[in-house]
């Protein structure tokens, strides 16, 4: 597998957020989903930069939605995970499961 096709941690989270949101996956909802579920302070710029990188790798594609008044008449860009993206997520999950197999994680305080 080429190095560029590997998923970073944030890329995995973004892909999972899109999968969770299904048809409602656009920038703001992806950002909210990440903030709510990971307790991270995620900025919209970071989300779009990651989505752009994922689109470049062919892991997501996008379609422009209708403009709405609450968005100041601007259209939204809805994202969808491609088959290649699902494959990459599956590989990342398998890799993590393989690495975790047989490992007993010590308590974070005990490791200090």
């Amino acid at each position: 597998m080429p190095k560029g096709d590997a998923l970073g941690e944030f890329e995995q989270l973004v892909l999972l957020a899109i999968l969770r949101l299904q048809k409602d996956a656009y920038g703001m909802r992806v950002r909210q989903e990440l903030s709510d579920r990971t307790s991270r302070d995620v900025t919209i710029g970071a989300v779009y930069a990651t989505l752009d990188r994922l689109a470049e790798k062919g892991f997501v594609d996008s379609a422009t939605g209708d403009p709405t008044p609450e968005r100041g008449g601007r259209a939204k860009r809805c994202f969808r995970v491609t088959a290649a993206g699902i494959g990459a997520l599956d590989r990342a999950r398998r890799d993590l499961a393989n690495m975790l197999e047989g490992v007993v994680l010590p308590h974070p305080r005990g490791a200090q």
Binding site: G27, M28, R31, G45, E70, R71, A75, K76
Partner: protein, 178 residues
Amino acid sequence: MTPPLFARALLLAVAGAPESHYVAGDLEEEFAQLCHCRGRSAASRWYLRQVIGSLPPLLALRIRSGQLTGVLLRAVIGIGLPLMALDRLWCFVYSQIPLKDGTGRAPEYLAFNLVCIGLAAALSAPPGAAGAIASGCAAAFALACATGATPLPYTALVILAVVLIPCCKTVRARRRRL
């Protein structure tokens, strides 16, 4: 309710053309929701924090997509070429005045412009055949200008910049494809 004008203007200025449209729309939608829940001042603070935090990734995105280098190229050529033309005209005028002939302008002045143009051209060149042609033209242009006017180290620097940067880009793009 409209978000803070300064923050919105900053966002639109930094983000590239397609992204700024979607990012501004997303932020505006969430801003309106926050205004209802937490009030306008809290929503404005949130908006400003989002814009400031979004500037580095959006800027990086713009550089990666080649938009910023295009802008840089146009700006440098727009400033550099007229300055060089003015410099040559100034030299010509001086050469026509008795006892002033041979008083050339500082070569660093011209060389700096050449380096800027060469670097901007090299950075703007896309990887692949088009990039090779663009960098070749830029190299020829820099060489033609530099041989008449600048000392060798500057010429070498310009040629290195216009040839090496697109080459590195092409190699990196090939590696990524493999």
